[in-house]
């Protein structure tokens, strides 16, 4: 996998993350769960920034960033705080795997940024009920939120 292809794969994961977290943000607004609301809001901002950064890196590499899909399938139901947190956790895990692949495929500043993103995504999992792992992001098959 080339660095540009891995950047595209990661961008696709971030497109899905932004979409799903946007939906989750709307749902959580109706729940009395301020901690989860803040966590989802923070995650949305982080993934939005990473998506924009990835698009810029791909453009700088003289490639055309993959577009977002019109919509992404969501797990159902998404009603309770636990269900929303589980969906957010799936988003973080998918991105974590994508960043692991990007670390392997890239070099220089791109890899350094990917390493930071991987660590950030791993820690973000904890805010959505994820458990600490010894080696997060080592999955070879990404679980898409699409």
């Amino acid at each position: 996998v080339t660095a540009v292809q891995s950047l595209q794969d990661t961008l696709a994961a971030e497109h899905a993350a932004v979409y799903v977290l946007g939906v989750l943000g709307g749902r959580v607004a109706t729940l009395p769960s301020p901690t989860l609301r803040n966590a989802i809001g923070t995650a949305y901002d982080v993934h939005l920034a990473r998506r924009d950064r990835l698009e810029a890196m791909i453009t700088a590499a003289r490639a055309t960033p993959v577009p977002a899909a019109p919509a992404y399938a969501l797990t159902r139901p998404l009603v309770t705080a636990a269900q929303l947190a589980a969906a957010a956790l799936r988003v973080e895990r998918a991105c974590l795997t994508a960043y692991g692949a990007l670390v392997a495929a890239s070099t220089g500043p791109t890899r350094r940024w990917a390493v930071d993103a991987l660590v950030g995504a791993a820690v973000a999992e904890l805010g959505f009920g994820g458990s600490a792992e010894a080696l997060p992001g080592m999955d070879t098959a990404a679980t898409s939120a699409r």
Partner: protein
């Protein structure tokens, strides 16, 4: 990535000594004399984890953290250090300081090593340490 894949990753950087499986070709063990460009990184990474395991093993309430570092060390093809009673236990604050330092080092090694697959393992180790309860103030 499977355990075999991880071993392949570490082997690819030239630290795993090759064994000549053909008895007719030579009679003496062969050793690696030209380590790969990341050999020093793998050696330092193993030493970092071994040092943490040794110090944490002398402390209380660190069983999960030690297990985490053992798994990480195994992923890098290292062997856990022998248990010693001479290691001084670490305070909680000292543990956090050392773990933070390890995260920074693994991030740096991941960003600067030559082999991409090794970089992924090193980045994963950094993330794995950052996730631990002691780093989140929840232990």
């Amino acid at each position: 990535m499977s355990a075999a894949g991880l071993t392949m990753t570490v082997a690819s950087v030239g630290l795993v000594a090759g064994c000549d499986l053909d008895p007719s070709s030579s009679s003496t063990p062969r050793t690696v004399t030209t380590p790969g460009p990341d050999a020093s990184v793998v050696t330092a990474a193993r030493a970092e984890l071994s040092g943490l395991i040794a110090r944490l093993s002398a402390s209380t309430g660190t069983t999960a953290l030690v297990a985490c570092h053992r798994a990480q060390l195994a992923a890098l093809g290292g062997r856990p250090p022998p248990t010693t009673r001479r290691s001084r236990p670490l305070s909680r604050a000292a543990t956090v300081t050392r773990e933070r330092r390890a995260v920074a080092r693994f991030r740096h090694w991941a960003a600067t090593c030559t082999d991409g697959d090794l970089a992924r393992v090193l980045a994963s180790v950094a993330a794995g340490i950052a996730m631990q309860p002691v780093m989140q103030g929840t232990s």
